[in-house]
Symmetry: C3
Subunit: 353 residues, 3 copies
């Protein structure tokens, strides 16, 4: 899409921002780009003042920035308090979200079981598989190589990118997006030890993913042994995340790449997990908690807490601990000195006595 600077400012006002336009309000803008990549017709932005000098060399036609920053006279400016939030609005306005090409169902090139029910305007690409007794909602898009196992239910506006696999009995809500090579509903690590060998426990539960969830690429979410593994409404996952069987993740969470959550964990709403964090099984992470990067969480985390380290402890304690660890050589030095001083004092005392 194309828009004038005046139209872009109008879009910002719709989101409650108060842009001040300095320049040619009728200038036509085609794209959002970084200051380095921008060409004529692009709008760019400066959110970190330390890159201010790039303003001198950018070829952008217009720049979004804070009111107090100077800029060369040839640039049209949109001044706002929060340039990063503003550029998000401009990306949506000018570029919108990814459009999915629609193709008619070709049963000779995709495998759609005769018992499957496919919603209106859904696109099942060649190379996708829909197994028996599946129900798929309206406007769904199943890219090549995606697989929907028996008896699964998908809501409206679901997107499965190439090679996503949903095992049998998976439940997916509306407006759920799952990125490539992610696996949902595989058997968890459920075995009973019998005579030095592992005997498999049938995993007869399933995975339920609620509305408006987005799951990144190459994740693996185990089905429950009994009942459901659940990802709550609005939660967003990055890539390479492992969720164990029977774990319930709450609503509106944000999980960064390579997080691992063991089985039977209850994660509250609005929880953030930073990269490579790990959670042991059978514990509770309270609402609004934040789990730091690489944290190894071995105990319940109260609502609202931020924890860090392995084993994870409250972040303030962890930071103090890190400082004390850095000072360990110095502390050892001090203790050795004190030892000497005490020995010397004793010697002097004894000599005197």
């Amino acid at each position: 899409m194309e828009a004038t600077l005046e139209q872009l400012c109008a879009a910002l006002r719709k989101y409650g921002m108060n842009p001040v336009l300095r320049g040619d309000s009728s200038r036509r803008i085609q794209r959002v780009a970084t200051l380095e990549d921008a060409v004529a017709g692009d709008v760019s932005f400066l959110s970190n003042p330390k890159y201010e000098k790039v303003l001198q060399t950018t070829r952008a036609s217009a720049v979004v920035l804070k009111p107090d920053l100077a800029a060369p006279p040839h640039l049209d400016l949109i001044q706002v308090e929060d340039p990063y939030a503003a550029i998000t609005v401009l990306i949506v306005t000018l570029h919108g979200y990814r459009q999915h090409r629609r193709v008619p169902l070709d049963r000779t090139r995709s495998s759609v079981h005769e018992t499957a029910v496919i919603g209106e305007n859904a696109t099942i690409h060649p190379g996708a598989t829909v197994a028996e007794d599946v129900v798929i909602g309206n406007n769904a898009v199943l890219y090549p190589g995606s697989y929907v196992g028996p008896r699964s239910r998908l809501g409206d506006d679901v997107v499965l990118f190439p090679n996503v696999v949903l095992y049998d009995d998976t439940r997916i809500g509306n407006r759920v997006t799952i990125h490539s090579n992610t696996t949902i509903g595989e058997d968890g690590l459920g075995y009973a030890p019998v005579g030095g060998q592992w005997v498999k426990i049938p995993q007869i539960g399933c995975v339920e993913i609620e509305d408006d969830v987005e799951i990144g690429a190459n994740c693996a979410i185990d089905r429950a042994t009994l009942g459901q593994t659940r990802i709550g409404r609005g939660t967003k996952f990055s890539n390479l995340i492992a969720i164990g069987h029977g774990t319930h993740v709450g609503e509106h969470g944000l999980f960064v790449a390579q997080v691992g959550v063991a089985g039977s964990v209850t994660v509250g709403n609005h929880v953030t997990m930073a990269g490579q964090a790990g959670i042991v099984g059978h514990i509770r992470i309270g609402d609004g908690a934040t789990i730091g990067a690489k944290a190894g969480v071995t105990n319940n985390v109260p609502a609202g807490d931020t924890v860090l380290g392995a084993p994870a402890i409250p972040i303030r304690d962890h930071k103090r601990q890190v400082v004390y660890m850095l000072r360990l050589p110095e502390l050892n030095e001090t203790v050795r000195r004190l030892e000497k001083e005490i020995a010397e004092l004793r010697t002097r005392f004894t000599a005197r006595a």
Copy 2:
């Protein structure tokens, strides 16, 4: 399947349990379910006494629990010493293992090379690929998108879930299950540094997976540079596990999600690796060892040991270390106080002298 409570008790007795049935032995049971999800016709179980109050509200027809627990009169009870083990038997009895739909081979929809030999009753789904000179055993199931590379050999009763990839020359035993999006036999990180660049070393070895192994979803097991990368009989992997080239994993191991083992490692039999543990290359993990969650193992681990931490040390030492680290602020405080006391003593001593 459906069974009466009396039949379920008979099944438990076959596994050496001594169930006591309190209630209607002819009641017909269809499913195992959690206390929360159960409806009429379901059997459920209580293994953790802290959930005892859920017995009041469950809609299950029968519950498996320990002998000494009370339950409302409307529930039929199966009393056993180990309710969790018992429910495993009931899941197998009532639900069994996942059944794989059999479909006849359709060479227009799957790519099976003319030189491939496919066993009796094997199912090659549309969208699966079997390359040249492959041999596949009886009853194997290859789901859509699975790929078996040239010269690979698969035993009987192998299941490849959707989008599993086996590179060339892979050897898979009998009754092996591999979950979706797992890759077996890709080239490892084998490069020689030449003039500031990395020159690839051909990886001419292969991967060998022995009988009764189960590999989770989204794992990656490198082929060996020379010889074999091997996963021993009966070992079970969870998801997102990385195994380096030339590593040998023993029999009957249990590897939790996101474990990483570098190349040329020898892992003994009956080894447990907890989540996100990492093992450096060229070391040995002894039989029966346990590697704790997030451990970073940099040295050989003796048979039977349990290690934790990064670098990993015996668990007893690690736990003590964690306690001492928590007390570091206090220790620093003490040392500061001692410094003052010594200074004061010296002053008094000198004044006296």
Copy 3:
């Protein structure tokens, strides 16, 4: 291929080595194998003297080893200073690199959009998908289940192993190899918090992978929000690696399995990242830096530095810290003893006074 020992020595001389041949220079060699696996007709090698006794039992026809090592008389020997480097040359000479079977394009079995431009001698296997407006170079190989999204550009001699997914607008250079189940160009974790929910920010950038890069299996490389996520020329990745949106990785790097790099990171040239290392967003890793296994890097790393630990610190400091942590029990003991000695001194002093 087959070669005589004399021909193998000639190959080593071409790489600047000075092999000394002791034995039958006309002996014909078919394969490289480990000492344990070798049979007649194989050449093997001994690089670690601790395995010297295996020379007594190997069935290899010839062995590459250092000049000063003894060997049984029935073995032909190639003596060189660096047996490991020499065997690499012999693997290339005798085995070469993996050959990819060429098949003609069959548009009824692969999905190649009519607008796609495919180079000469490229192989698009059945089950591969090439979307609209894609350009693919000469000699490319797209294995079954690989997917190339709209408007992507692939150079010459690119290999996509089975089930690799490239999202829209991906740019791939020449001689790039990507292993199975890797995802390139999925949306990163870009959301704006609005009223307690996460609103998606369209990710309109792309991924650019330069010449001679090799990416392992099951990796995930986010597309940029704006501009490019970039992997520099000659860099090699192992498996299960996550790269965040907008991150730039330099040239000739080596990344071990399960590394995670957050978004907007700048990684210099010739950087090594060991297994399970993690890098927070928006920092810089200097040229030639080495990031230790499991390191958690939270600050810029200067060029040439080696860091370890979480939070990561220079390796020398980290190793000292580890030693001091092991001595914490002892240090606490010492401090307790000093406390007692001071108390005793004070008592004696006071009694005397």
